[in-house]
Symmetry: D3
Subunit: 296 residues, 6 copies
Amino acid sequence: MTGIPTFAIPPGFLGRGRGERIGAISIAGIPLDLGTTHRAGARFGPGAIRRASGMLTDGAHPAAWVDPATLDLSDIGDFAIALGDIGASLRLIEAQATALPHLIALGGEHGITLPLLRALTKRTGPVGLIHFDAHVDTWPDNFGQRYGHGSVFFHAIEEGLVEPARMIQLGIRSPVQREVWDWTLDRGVTILPALDIHASTPDAVAARVRQVVGDGPVYLSFDIDALDPAFAPGTGTPEVGGLATWQAQAILRRLTGLAFVGMDLVEVAPAYDVSEITALAGATMVWEYLALLGAA
Amino acid sequence: MTGIPTFAIPPGFLGRGRGERIGAISIAGIPLDLGTTHRAGARFGPGAIRRASGMLTDGAHPAAWVDPATLDLSDIGDFAIALGDIGASLRLIEAQATALPHLIALGGEHGITLPLLRALTKRTGPVGLIHFDAHVDTWPDNFGQRYGHGSVFFHAIEEGLVEPARMIQLGIRSPVQREVWDWTLDRGVTILPALDIHASTPDAVAARVRQVVGDGPVYLSFDIDALDPAFAPGTGTPEVGGLATWQAQAILRRLTGLAFVGMDLVEVAPAYDVSEITALAGATMVWEYLALLGAA
Amino acid sequence: MTGIPTFAIPPGFLGRGRGERIGAISIAGIPLDLGTTHRAGARFGPGAIRRASGMLTDGAHPAAWVDPATLDLSDIGDFAIALGDIGASLRLIEAQATALPHLIALGGEHGITLPLLRALTKRTGPVGLIHFDAHVDTWPDNFGQRYGHGSVFFHAIEEGLVEPARMIQLGIRSPVQREVWDWTLDRGVTILPALDIHASTPDAVAARVRQVVGDGPVYLSFDIDALDPAFAPGTGTPEVGGLATWQAQAILRRLTGLAFVGMDLVEVAPAYDVSEITALAGATMVWEYLALLGAA
Amino acid sequence: MTGIPTFAIPPGFLGRGRGERIGAISIAGIPLDLGTTHRAGARFGPGAIRRASGMLTDGAHPAAWVDPATLDLSDIGDFAIALGDIGASLRLIEAQATALPHLIALGGEHGITLPLLRALTKRTGPVGLIHFDAHVDTWPDNFGQRYGHGSVFFHAIEEGLVEPARMIQLGIRSPVQREVWDWTLDRGVTILPALDIHASTPDAVAARVRQVVGDGPVYLSFDIDALDPAFAPGTGTPEVGGLATWQAQAILRRLTGLAFVGMDLVEVAPAYDVSEITALAGATMVWEYLALLGAA
Amino acid sequence: MTGIPTFAIPPGFLGRGRGERIGAISIAGIPLDLGTTHRAGARFGPGAIRRASGMLTDGAHPAAWVDPATLDLSDIGDFAIALGDIGASLRLIEAQATALPHLIALGGEHGITLPLLRALTKRTGPVGLIHFDAHVDTWPDNFGQRYGHGSVFFHAIEEGLVEPARMIQLGIRSPVQREVWDWTLDRGVTILPALDIHASTPDAVAARVRQVVGDGPVYLSFDIDALDPAFAPGTGTPEVGGLATWQAQAILRRLTGLAFVGMDLVEVAPAYDVSEITALAGATMVWEYLALLGAA
Amino acid sequence: MTGIPTFAIPPGFLGRGRGERIGAISIAGIPLDLGTTHRAGARFGPGAIRRASGMLTDGAHPAAWVDPATLDLSDIGDFAIALGDIGASLRLIEAQATALPHLIALGGEHGITLPLLRALTKRTGPVGLIHFDAHVDTWPDNFGQRYGHGSVFFHAIEEGLVEPARMIQLGIRSPVQREVWDWTLDRGVTILPALDIHASTPDAVAARVRQVVGDGPVYLSFDIDALDPAFAPGTGTPEVGGLATWQAQAILRRLTGLAFVGMDLVEVAPAYDVSEITALAGATMVWEYLALLGAA
């Protein structure tokens, strides 16, 4: 092993210094959790994911053989947010994301994806979306709150940031109103419930994803609650029956060659985590994404 | 989303007030854990399962499209038990269960199933049984205790409450004396060990269950330790190698149309739980059962 | 022991049914935690405090000999709040509190005290205040947020809800800007830092409290972080060097005969608690307050 | 340091082999927790206390300068109990204790003290009692159960096992019915509430203890919930406002020269413990008792 | 059920007394964790695995129908190690292992396997190896430390203790330098990454194992981190995407008839465990191995 | 409040960037824990203390009125250590410490103090020592290991790094061999056992400290286990009966004007911590020390 022991690794993602120069790919934390409908705590997600990433610093990805150390990657620290104010926070996030070429955001709750897409699509136009989640997140409101974490893709679709026909949701399983489900399908979104993924194979699932998102620019939004609570207990709105980490990894590894333009990893809530397994799962999904970028 | 946020939901199951009127289906907690052979603590199971059920209150089941809010369901609170006295507790439980039309009991330890079956079968006659568990629970005694949680189906069979030929056990994997195993098979019970379920499919398993229990009245007894400790750490006698929550869900969803007459969900011990994942697994299994009833 | 075992007690405070009639004294939960500056999670405080209160249901207070069962006390459930919106939540809280004769609020974060005082003082005029806390909570803002939990008494004083000369703060010890400290003293508030309480006695401290608050109407606002993190780990902004629970109890028991008009117990964040000790500390402080009311 | 590292110490108390020969002083575990009124789990107390005692194996007591290694002490393993049957368990415990010359029992719940005193007093006649506890434990019943852990000294007094005039209770603070309190005082028992101990000094408290118990044979019954939940979270019926470990140690160290005839340390419930601090507190109280014996 | 309750079982593996006579098969703990590269804590592994094994004492293996009680098995306690000194510890371990006929070692970190193989192969000559792990453990050094836990099989191969052509690694998935991977393959070792096992079946995997190891003497080295952190959070270098416990069991059960000459179960770090599930997984893997021996 | 929210503070101590320029006072982490005799894990102490220090970044010390933001303080990151090699690690630590003008070291275990004193005293000559600890740490060896954490002051005294007559130990209470105790006293060291501190006052204790250390250069070595496990559960060798955090703070605040030349805060082991209270206690003791420096 080279470098320094994982337990003494510097505190940025994969040991990159925090706040340093901006590389071709940048990592940023976005510690917003005001729009969570059940448990809060995702504000501590960025720090926990960074720490857990230390386990992934020594060596290359053992399938893609991409060594993250060879990527032009920087950890630019955390975005500023407005304490206790969702609207102002969304505006701040959008402003800070606008200038960044290829951003990987560490949430925070899922509500951050909306301003990230607003910023991104100014440059790319509407994007395709690969969305891992237990929830469709297309509710028009959240117990009265329009910009809670359950409405992010309602707005993204309504605002034309996402092409619904190029959007696929994987791992869905929460209770949901039939009209929300139907609205989502009617827009053209493809929903792959968790049980369908369990009954299928990573090969077939990945083929379906590729078919849906096609060759255009595509964004990956990974809500950690797509994973089963056994694999990711540290999250705000857990639902049993979810994916194993290996399933998510196996699907992601089959998505080489897509035109990825950004990613977020959201809803890691460390206060509910156990021995950092959720944070490590989150860090690993980002590492898989980096391997996809590196292999491109 | 409608209604009130999940974190402020009233404390009955699925937000139903506790202690209210008796509906067509009633939920009751039975906080007995005197007959546990390893860890105690299931006395706190009913409260934990109710709280976790808050996550399931907002929306319909995303496959059966049954909205629990439309069911005539009431949470009647907890049964009285006799502190430190198994025999008296079993008599109290039977007495309280007798008048209830369709009861879903939240344990408490598995020993509660015996008086529940005694009460139920006065009305229905002997029942078929779908039994999820890591243990056969047909020991004639428990380290000297006749009415511990490992003997519940020994007595149920001996007392003629269950038709052994219409009884199937799913998830079995604990150490067991050969004579206990053989006694169970000799009575006519079908045993599906956990590893056989892992090697099979939910379709095939569900078909086997339907074949065994047939068209007669059938009771569902779900010991949470049927699930692997990764999915359900909060229980009294964990055994590794168990089911994933998705497997249990996938099997249950294929049991539509059976003549269900009651259910219990037992052995959730919150002191050993992690971020409520066991309680949520328990609440979800009850929710799946309600979807079966609602779809009927 | 009479009644039912503590582990099966109904889920309202001291076993009172939730949502029932309004008594002379009412308990309500206020699950707001949007204005916390460090850890969120106090939205789950009301439920945790209620459950922990089960330990206090069987018997009388062993010094005041008040049996809470003899008080005209009701638990009216949780206040509605606006998800993700501090301003709207404060307005909702004020509206719901207005009609209640003697309210004991279970937080939620400390920000809830502002609308509670707004509602209360419509009836009583400005009140004296006994404020247990690690923080002065007289910051004019919270990292830019005007209505965060660190500003509650800045506003209460500015709005004339509290008589600063009749306000005393006990347990203060966090870092603080000198100008915030001086502003507080300049208004006439008495500050008793935690170390001064450790160096003194409950008798002397209580005498000082009585001297400050006098005979007029007085409100008790108890932030659980007044206690040391050893005694109350489950809170959002812990500071070491705080009070032991016995010290808080000993001080409170010496405050008989004051003209109490209301109380809140705030900042219990169960995700950070350990074996419910913080929730139990919170419930016990409310129980001590009830004993003061009962002894009056 | 001598001997072997604490983390590899054999699993008996202070590293003594379990089940070996019977010394002048013997340690035994009694894993009974059927009579607990709130949380169960003390059945795992003996193992946890033994493991924690490893920290106390290397060196002498730094005030009494007694080296436990020089005592004729053996760990004889655990007593048999009857699973799920309080009555039979009490009879078994009494039978096993009868032959042991000087027994230190590791509980298990407080109910075990009754059969231990029955066995002991056959040899010694009625004993004086030093009783550390948050609860008086003189309830005539426990929610209907006569032999629960809250009734142990009701029976001990009624059966004449204890001389009430030579019995003192330290740390009392739970809610209690006035008639139970008065019954206890009327028998002649001395009660030192926790707050009185906080307001006093170890010197004065120990003097009071010596005055009460005098020169006759005296038994020490230490319920770990005498300590505050901050110091002993791992217990079944915690009450805030309790003693610090140093207070209990300071009092015990001033009790040299008393005619001790036995001890129990009860109500350690490891499932609720934190980093073994409760188990270590329990082990340390036994170690303090051994120092008293060794110094005699 | 026979024997004594699991919660009172003596503290040796499967209830065997510790330190007793040496049977045909012996169990020993080796509490070394100095060579861990990330989290330490495996020194407490032996005790935790022994305690967890209590769950497996009552009854036979429900597939092999081997009752461990019928095996000539002894728990000889813990090996001495040299505190803070890897080199001296490895020498001590080798010396103690040399005389033992068939040893099952409970780690401790993976570094212990090297001296165990040195001792074993004096008698057997080079052995085949079935190696469950997330890591190849063939690094030539560990951040500068030659004998850390990541180098154990580099040395074992270099020293000729293992026949690389008869060595198979199952569950591999950590980041790794390409040259370490290639070195391993070039020696002739077979690597089965975790994702390949997920994509395959236990039948096929076991067939591959049998093909690789053949008929010669074979050693089983089971690093608990071969399992996914959901199933085994209590370990030092967790990697997501690992095996479920049922997969490991299913593979092991298909390995009957191999010429096993020893086993170790390493890297259980109880400080990171949750409700003992990792320790139970470890104990169960040893129990599966005993069933293989018993069925032979 | 000014600056950024505590939950988003940069990851250096008090938010200082890690690895930046060297100020007049520098903070460094030293992640060594190879010499611990019981629980390992202090290698994660530096990161945990830094994170917890975020709570202390917003405002001045509320008694000394020193604002740490005004100090010339830098966090220079972690020292390199030699994995698995105590001797090489001690040499590395000494080499890295030598050039630093005023170092505050975050451990790691107590063994790091030896090379720190070796480096420091090259510049200052022998120093006085204020040593908070549960253990005297003057054992000549540690179960055979000469440079374990229990021998640090044996060597420091033997090597003439410390003036024993100017050395005082506060909080001592572990078991200890009489000859180790006497050796320490015979060298001239002053020992203040924890119980003596409990029986005294911070004023008297601080006066004694000042009397012992006098006007010469003095070093503060704070082992977090000086605190009681209730206040600091996250440590390697806990002993009950220790100090409260307020006691340590009250003593430190009375030590203004001493000629401090360095400090270490050791033995925080986060795997055993609870809601970060131990890390926060550690960070706070450093903050108190900074206030002493700032007030000088």
